[in-house]
Symmetry: C2
Subunit: 237 residues, 2 copies
DNA sequence: ACCTGAACACCGTTCAAGT
DNA sequence: ACCTGAACACCGTTCAAGT
C-alpha cells in the first residue's frame, strides 16, 4: 500500500526519441509559442496538435495531461533567466541581476503569472537555477538552512512583485487606456478612502505608459534594496 | 473615440437588490464555498447556478463573465485578513500580524494562488486593506511614494512566499505522501546537482507533515524579519 | 426586472483501432 | 512505437422567450 506520488512530468524521463516521433523540446517550444501568442486561455491541446501538424490527441503520447504540458513550458521560462558568475561579481550584484532578469522574463511571458501558484517547479532549468542561487548565497556567507531561507526570500520578493503587476496590466488589456475612464474607476472603487484615492489618481494622472513602467521599476528597486539590506543584516548577526 | 476600459466587476455598482433577486454577497459566498470545496477547476457557472437553486445562466444577470465572478470571491479573501490597530501596536508588529494573517487566509483558500496573477484587486475589501496598510506605514514614518513602495514590498513578500507554497502542496494532492517515492523524485530531478539534492533529501527525510509546516513557518519568519529590517533601514536613512 | 432553456462553439481526456 | 478519429462528458456564453 504505497502513498500518493508527486504528480509532475519531471518524475519520469522523456520517452526515448526515435526518428518519426517528436521530442519534449519541440513540444515545449511549440507550447511556449502558443502561450505567448494567445495566452493561457488560448492554449488548447487541439490547437497545439494542429500547430505541430499532428492529430489532436497525439500529445498524450508524450505527456500525461495538460498540466504536465504546462510544466514543460514553465521550465523553459527558467531557462531564459540569466545569472552572472557569482565569484566575479559579488553576491549582491549577482542576485540583483537575477532579480531583474527574472522580472524581465516574467513580463515577457505574462501567462506564467497564473502557473506559479499551480505547478511545482521541478524541471531541469528550475533546478539548475536553484543550485546556482544557492551557491551564490553560500558564497555570500550564509550557512546551513539560511542558504535556503535567503534564496526563498529573494525569489518570493520577485514573484510577489511581478505577479500582481501582470494581473494589473492584463486587466488593462493593452496600451490605449482611456485615462478618464480609469480615473472614473478609481473614484468609484476607492470612494471611501480619500487618501488612497488621491494617490491612485495622482499616479494615474502624471503618467504615460512609459512613465508607469519607470515608476514600477523604481518601486521594484526600492523593495529589492530593502530585501538585500535585510539579508545583509542577517549575515552580520 | 474612447480608449480601453479596465475590465472589472468593481467598475459598476451592483444592480439594485429587489425582493426576488439574488445579491452580489450571496453569489460571492456561494462561489467561495464552491471554490473551497472543489477548487478552481471544480467551479462552473452551471454548478453555481444549481447550488443557488437557479437556472444555469441566471448568474449572467449579476456578473459579466466568469472572471468577474472570481473577482467577487477574491475580494472575500481580502475581507478575512485581520489587521490590528497600528496606533497601539507599533508598525512592525502590526504589519507582521498582517503578513501572518494573510498567509493563513491564503493557505485556507489555495485557489487564490491562481487568481492573483490574473485578476486585479479592486474590490472594497482589498481597497480597505490597502488604505489601512498605507496608514500603518505612514505612522511608521514613511513619506510620499515610499509609503506605497514599502506597502508593495511587504505584500510582495507574502504573495511570493505563499503562492509557490500552494503550488507545492496542491501538486502533492493530500497528506499521505509516499516518502520513498518523493525521495525518488528528488533523486531524479536533482540528479545533476548533488548539493541541492542533499538538501532536498535532508528536508524530506527528517520531516513528518507537521514538521514541514513548522519549517515553512520558520522560513517565512526569516524572510519577513529580513524584509522588515530592510524597510527599517530605509526609514533611518 | 429577473430568469429560463436551447443552442453554439468549444474544451480535456479515453480508447479502440490503425500502421 | 507512435498516431489517429470518434466519442464522452463536460465547458462559457449568447439570446430569444418567458413571467
Amino acid at each position: 500500500m504505497t502513498g500518493k506520488q508527486i504528480s509532475s512530468v519531471w518524475t519520469r524521463d522523456a520517452r526515448p526519441a526515435r526518428t518519426p516521433g517528436r521530442t519534449r523540446e519541440e513540444i515545449a517550444r511549440a507550447t511556449l509559442e502558443l502561450l505567448d501568442a494567445e495566452g493561457l486561455d488560448g492554449l488548447s491541446i487541439r490547437k497545439l496538435g494542429a500547430k505541430l501538424g499532428a492529430g489532436a490527441t497525439s500529445i498524450y503520447w508524450y505527456v500525461g495531461n495538460k498540466d504536465e504540458l504546462l510544466e514543460l513550458a514553465y521550465d523553459e521560462i527558467w531557462g531564459e533567466i540569466t545569472l552572472p558568475i557569482p565569484e566575479s561579481l559579488g553576491w549582491r550584484d549577482t542576485v540583483s541581476a537575477f532579480a531583474y532578469s527574472m522580472r524581465h522574463v516574467m513580463l515577457r511571458h505574462p501567462w506564467v503569472g497564473s502557473l506559479i501558484g499551480r505547478l511545482p517547479a521541478l524541471g531541469p532549468n528550475a533546478m539548475a537555477m536553484s543550485d546556482r542561487l544557492r551557491r551564490t548565497f553560500r558564497l555570500a556567507g550564509f550557512d546551513g538552512m539560511d542558504i535556503d531561507y535567503a534564496n526563498a526570500t529573494l525569489t518570493a520578493y520577485v514573484f510577489g512583485t511581478v505577479i500582481p503587476e501582470i494581473a494589473w496590466s492584463t486587466s488593462m488589456g493593452g496600451e490605449e487606456l482611456d485615462m478618464d475612464a480609469m480615473r472614473g474607476t478609481f473614484e468609484h472603487v476607492a470612494r471611501d478612502f480619500p487618501d488612497l484615492l488621491e494617490r491612485l489618481v495622482e499616479i494615474n494622472e502624471k503618467v504615460t505608459v512609459s512613465e508607469t513602467d519607470r515608476l514600477r521599476a523604481v518601486s521594484f528597486d526600492f523593495g529589492l534594496v530593502a530585501v538585500l539590506d535585510g539579508l545583509e543584516a542577517r549575515l552580520r548577526s
